[in-house]
Symmetry: C2
Subunit: 352 residues, 2 copies
Amino acid sequence: MNITKPTLLVDLQKCKLNLQRMLDKANSKKVDLRPHFKTHQSIQIGEIFKEFGLKKITVSSVEMAQKFAENGWQDITIAFPFNPLEIKIIEQLSDKVELNILISSQISAQKLKSITRQKLNYFIEIDTGYHRSGILAEDFKQIARAIKLLSAHQFIGFLTHSGHTYQAGSIQEILEIHRDTIDKMKILKQQFASEFPHLTLSIGDTPSCTLAENFESVDEMRPGNFVFYDLMQLNLGVCKLEDIAVCLACPVVDINRDRNEIVIYGGAVHLSKEHILHNSKEIFGQVVKLTDTNWYKLDEDIFVISLSQEHGIIKASDELIHTIKIGDVLGIIPVHSCLTMNLNKNFKFKST
Amino acid sequence: MNITKPTLLVDLQKCKLNLQRMLDKANSKKVDLRPHFKTHQSIQIGEIFKEFGLKKITVSSVEMAQKFAENGWQDITIAFPFNPLEIKIIEQLSDKVELNILISSQISAQKLKSITRQKLNYFIEIDTGYHRSGILAEDFKQIARAIKLLSAHQFIGFLTHSGHTYQAGSIQEILEIHRDTIDKMKILKQQFASEFPHLTLSIGDTPSCTLAENFESVDEMRPGNFVFYDLMQLNLGVCKLEDIAVCLACPVVDINRDRNEIVIYGGAVHLSKEHILHNSKEIFGQVVKLTDTNWYKLDEDIFVISLSQEHGIIKASDELIHTIKIGDVLGIIPVHSCLTMNLNKNFKFKST
């Protein structure tokens, strides 16, 4: 593949398989798929979603909304708390495309009300237990007040991201969190149904969207990571290693046989410092074998055990250390594909 | 300052003070300062170093060497293990500028010997205890063999990076590591002095270069981080908060008074996921007060306690939570300025 330095490879075929599976799931559950584009942030990868007939997307910043709007996307939800400092760009964008913003508290609603007269579409962000942002699902009063404050605007529905599934210790626990989310959102929908019979319930996280079967009352799902998956999802039991569609190709620059360590050109500026624990130790990526046209699981699980700015250190087995030479290129499956992709905007599609 | 989204601010005056102090130290110790440009990677900030009369620099990739060579830098050390896959660019660059590469093992020397006939300048990388890459300082045999293998090339000297100072628990411990480094490098110099009377001893890390007074036998220092410093250096006792020359300006997008949490627009794609421990808890940045022209320490230490892609969560005091409004902009001092800078190439100079 003519790799000379760290290069992120994207397997288009795997992306399409992952996308087809999620779309089949959404269709079978009669739920709209509004994929989150923060994972790839790429116009080119966005085109794949167009090929699958998708027209609605999610982004995590006004900047990303602008970028995809310029590329022809006409229906965009910014799934990030409303930032009043960007009201002008939001107003301009709302004139051009169907734009939904997120109101995550009563004071956020108050702020929006006070700074615009333009009619904007908004979701109320609901906190179903992740406790990052949003109004607690049980807090009907605050929710009602926010909606009342914004009566001049267009209320779309309730949106939640159950990010606490990423802390789950088992698939069972992910499904329990999802069940709890569904229950809370369903009650909310019932609570506001008489006033807003057409409100949308939108849920988000890749673990739930991939694993769950029960989407009762849900109208829309917004997973993002699923198009690539990564080591974190593998570790949670959400995907298989073979499903992961991104891999960082890294030149081997040194080998230390006394410590069974391989030094690669590939560090924190390529992979990000996101880590997971494996046998109580921090790991930053998993090693795969790379050929000209593909990557393959090794017989053993071998990991990147530390990262500095440009260096990665692999703790190798005796077998691996004796088959690898300086100048070879190894593949590293990233822990968090969204952050790795953000650092490698000049990715390459894997040759087939 | 017209901030509407996360924006890295660089305090030029602080950069210059940090640079002047390090240059004074180097001059007083009769050591050459060859600053590491991986910290800023910026042509514009590079110009400040030119103003101070500096002509030699360090970088951590061939790509960075190319970039700074194109901008007129004529004497560049690539302080990263030699990557044979980039030999062509290395050869081309060596024709244009004074370029030093790094040989970090006997097999790395063998590889270089086998793939080029061009005469190249090289350092031998010495491992004085960090155990990332390089030949152990005591391994005279391997060092001698590497030098012998590369007899057709130009041996410059020994280079080490005592990165284990970043694991030190006290200033005392940093100074002990530095003393150990100096001792090991001095012995090496003596060992090879008869054959190479003009060899250069080059040491690297910001903690040692900032704190130590003993630079016996050292010819060159290559600190990088010192131009900005950061929370990690503050935590090690290497700098004061007032010395830190970078700050991420982040809009406040929500406030949760029940949990004493402030949600900022500023996440892992702006700060990086580098963290340090404070009272056994992970922190990702420290909050400072931001005005139109400067940033200031708060009365209390308030930290960013979690990051997702675009969100940051601040655990606030009762006092802070009642003075902050949605739409305000807070300053966040990053944990690791090199990684934060890498994510914010469109930084702004702080107005004065």
